[in-house]
Each structure stands twice: as structure tokens, then as C-alpha cells.
Symmetry: C2
Subunit: 305 residues, 2 copies
């Protein structure tokens, strides 16, 4: 099965306390697509300007990503600059230029419309709706969102929740959306709003996956060094959706979704080991599978005798 | 096997945003002993004043805790008052009265000296040394510590690390002790200072257990409501040491220590469900074992097909 991925494609300037790199490939769709491409065929939907470097187009192509849904238009590509504190959970945005992204209206080519799995990356809920409107009988829709849309587009987001199988968001966003401090209560409230599943990301502390009846607590793969946390959440949902598509089942079980969450966590762990997509783009499936087994062993404990 | 536990015994006043309770049983040895008593025979070492309520003595006795090492002296018991923010990871100390604890010198009764497992609860490293000096051939010593001792008694703490099998501390303390931001690097540095094992507690995010060759990442049991986080870390080490003692093995394997860490996490999860020891004191072993199995199921994921 293939997976449709829509989101932003950006040129980033990123500063950490130790390094600074400019003109990097970024954006939610870039991270998610390259992560997913290890596990399934990806149909990308996005927009870039004429200034978008050919080498980044080539990077997508070399990962077998279908670019029929990529609009290349007059103007400059979306740009973002950010800076991380020593505590890399803290970052500040130095500048944002929407550029061509300002007038983005996702258009699905005919050959995308029947894609069975879709990842609605972190863009306005209105645009996420517009993608759904163009799809035919999707099997599993997973949507990402962020604090900005919860604050400014709540009605459209609440409508979206009725149309998707799964919402992914981080812990502070789950609290913001539900006004609950307990993440489990927040998750249960979100399930009441429509989706069958919700995943709450806890950054370096892993992630929770809930359905009405099931619960999975997934740790994060422990890393000695984190070079650039940008895109970790996008690599997570990309890995998740890619695993689900690669599995090719019509009805994925909760056990399947748990594995998909682990794949997502691992793709995120590779993502942050280098700036931009520098680690993801060189990653092989075997490396991911080896880390999966290592992670399984280090998370495992025996039953009581 | 039995376990020797030394630490503070206190009367606490605790305020959260929702509740306030005074004259509560508190202190590291109280939490750790009651938690451990579910799993093994406990030899308690501590000090209280003549004002210490008889009902709390009775609580220890009813849990089969040996009080031969409890000094009851003229004066007032150690007192602590604290207040938690909405984010219960944040608390401020409102007042501390050391009282009889100021001149505490742990004395081990003859029948304690050969206890095979010892938990050196969170007290000054000098006192922890004094306990060790009185023990005969202990098999497994686990010590807890805190930021205060790392800052004010570093040489004694470093000496202690050469005499113990395992150090338990929280994430910020591990960073403080080693001046490493990465917890894994911090843990490796601590192992180089002497102990065979180190456990780094991450509060509501679980705990890491490391040896030179092995690694275990343990999540925290997810809770909907936390009423009082006081003593969670003490219940953790108490549960850990109690499980190890109850196991009764001369040489515990890493798999055994992983289970002990899970027991510790679960005892901590019960601890925070009520103020003071109100939940721990009513807890039965069966409840802990049921939660163990539930936790195992919710943390488990399958191998790749």
C-alpha cells in the first residue's frame, strides 16, 4: 500500500548552542515523506517556489517519492529560522516567511485519490479538510496538528476529528485542546471527539497510544547525543504512517498500531542524530530493524514468576 | 532475605493546589520501609522524638517492620512542610525543622548487622558510611542521594560510590553529579565511579537502569490522578530493594534487577495516589502483581515479523 503525505516543505536555518546550519531542507512533509519512504511508497503533496534547490528534489526522487502532487510555483519557498536552547525542548522561532505557502491549496493528482493511507501533516485544518475532500475511500487517515491551529482554527479542527482515524499531537497540545492536565484524561476526551486512536507525543520521553479499549506506553530510544530536534515529530508520524502502509492490511490491529508507533519513535530517534534530513536520508531499513530489536530488548521485562 | 532500610522519619505538612493535610507520616525511611514490607522483611534504622504518634509506630508494626533500630529520643521529630504547584514536578519547601534528626547517628542492633540487602535512604553520605561500617558482609547495597549532598558532601559521596552496588538518583542530580547533559553519558560516568548499577529516575517519565553491559528503559505506570507526589522516589527504592530481598538470590541477574525496577515504579505509582502513606499502607501484594501484569501488557510490543 502507498501513503499520501501532505504538509509543509521548507528551507530552514537552524542554530543550536553548538552548531549553525543554513539553507537546509525542512518542513513537515519533507521529514515525514523521507521517513515513510523507507517503509512504503509515498505520494507527496506540497508546494515550493522556483528557488527550491534541485538537489532537494533529487533527494525526494532518490527515495522513490512520487512528486506528481508537488506544486512548483513562482516565488520563494517557505522559510523558517529557529534557535535551540541548551535544553533542546526549548526553541525560539527567529523568523518565518510563508512565501508560496501562503496561498497553498493542496491539489491531489488523479493517481493520488485512491491512496489507502493518508498522513495529514501539520498544516491548517482547512487545508487538511481540502485534502480529505479529494480522496476516495481512504482506509486510515492520521492527522498531526499544533498549538496554533488549536488556538486559531478550533472549529475546523473539531470537524476534522470526526473524519479521521487517528490524531497525533504533543502533550502540551493535548492539554490545550482538552483543558485536562492528565494526559490519559486528555486522550480519552479526544477519543470522544471522533478519532478511534490518539497518540500523544512526550518528546524525549516517548509517546502514548490510546483507543477506547487499549493502551500502549512507548518509551523513546535513548540517545547519547541529539544534534537537531527539528522534524522529530514529523519523522515520527511519517514512520508511523509508512509502517502502516507497508504492512498493507485492510484493518490494522492495535498490535499493528503499537509496532507502527515504535517505528515512528525510532525514525524520530534517527532524525535528531543530525541536522535536517542528513541522517534520515542515508538510513537503510536494516538499520531501523536492528534498532527496533535493540529497543525491544531494552524495554522488555519478564512476567512475574 | 530481609532488607535494612535507613533514612529519615518525619512529620509532614503537605499542600497541593487542591488539598492540604497536616501532621502526616513522612520521611524517606517511612515510605521506603512500608513499600518494601510488601515484598520482604524490613529492618528499619531511624530516629524520632517522643512526640512521634503511636499510631505511626503501630503502622510500621502492622507491616511486620522490625523497629529494633528505631531510636526514640527526647525532643521533637523531624518536620517538613511543602507545597506543590499545579505542575506537581514543582514544589517548594515551606519549612524544615531537623529537631532530633540533627544529632542522628545510626546504630545497628546486633541482629541487623548481617542483613544481606541494605537501602541507604536519602541522608547525608557520612551517615550512610556509618551504617555500612556496622554491616557484616552485605550482598547488595543500594544508596539514594540528593542535590544537597552532591553540592555539600561530594567527597564523602564519591567515597560511598566505591562501597555500594547501586546508586539511585534523579535526572537533574545525575547531571549535577557528572556535569553531563546526556543521561546515558551521565550514567556511564557514574558507573566509572564505582557502582555496578545506576538507576536514574525521570519522575513521571519512568527510569533508566544501566550496568556496564546492559540497559533497561522503564516507563512509569500512567495515572489519571496524582494526589501527592511526596515519597514517590522513596517508595521506588523501597519497592526495588524489597523485591530484591524477597527474591532471596545470592547473585541477582540483570533480568532480576529489571523486575525490581518495575516493582519500584509500581510502588511509586501507588504511593502518589493518596497523601502520605494512605495508599501504600492499605496495599496488598496481589494489587501490585495485578498492576505489574497490566503494566507489562501496556509496555509490550512484538518482534518484527
Amino acid at each position: 500500500m502507498s501513503v499520501l503525505i501532505v504538509g509543509s516543505i521548507a528551507i530552514d536555518n537552524i542554530k543550536t548552542k553548538l552548531e549553525e546550519h543554513n539553507e537546509l531542507l525542512g518542513g513537515s512533509a519533507s521529514y515525514a515523506s523521507v521517513a515513510a519512504s523507507l517503509l512504503a511508497k509515498v505520494n507527496l503533496v506540497g508546494i515550493v517556489g522556483k528557488d527550491f534547490p534541485a538537489e532537494y528534489i533529487e533527494l525526494f526522487r532518490s527515495h522513490g517519492i512520487n512528486l506528481d502532487g508537488l506544486q512548483v510555483v513562482e516565488g520563494r519557498t517557505f522559510r523558517w529560522s529557529g534557535e535551540y536552547e541548551w535544553d533542546m525542548n526549548q526553541r525560539k522561532t527567529l523568523s518565518v516567511e510563508l512565501n508560496v505557502f501562503e496561498d497553498f491549496s493542496p491539489r491531489l493528482p488523479e493517481n493520488y485519490r485512491k491512496t489507502p493511507i493518508a498522513l495529514l501533516g501539520n498544516i491548517s485544518p482547512l487545508l487538511q479538510h481540502r485534502v480529505l475532500d479529494q480522496m476516495e475511500n481512504p482506509q486510515f487517515i492520521v492527522a498531526d496538528t499544533m498549538d496554533l491551529w488549536i488556538a486559531t482554527a478550533r472549529p475546523a479542527l473539531l470537524e476534522l476529528l470526526k473524519r479521521i482515524e487517528m490524531l497525533v499531537l504533543n502533550d502540551s497540545e493535548a492539554r490545550q485542546l482538552t483543558e485536562e492536565t492528565s494526559l490519559i484524561k486528555a486522550a480519552r476526551n479526544i477519543l470522544r471527539l471522533g478519532p478511534k486512536y490518539v497518540a500523544i507525543k512526550k518528546g524525549e520521553h516517548g509517546c502514548l497510544l490510546l483507543s477506547r479499549d487499549d493502551f500502549f506506553s512507548c518509551g523513546a530510544f535513548p540517545l547519547e547525543d541529539i544534534h537537531d530536534p527539528t522534524g522529530a515529530g514529523d519523522a515520527f508520524v511519517g514512520g508511523f504512517a509508512g509502517y502502516l502502509a507497508g504492512l498493507g492490511k485492510k484493518n490494522a490491529s492495535f498490535a499493528d498500531l503499537k509496532k507502527a508507533v515504535v517505528y515512528g519513535s525510532l525514525l524520530a530517534s534517527f532524525c535528531v542524530e543530525a541536522f535536517s534530513l542528513d541522517r534520515l536520508k542515508k538510513l537503510g531499513r536494516k538499520e531501523v530493524e536492528d534498532r527496533y530489536e535493540l529497543f525491544r530488548l531494552m524495554s522488555h521485562f519478564e512476567v512475574i514468576e
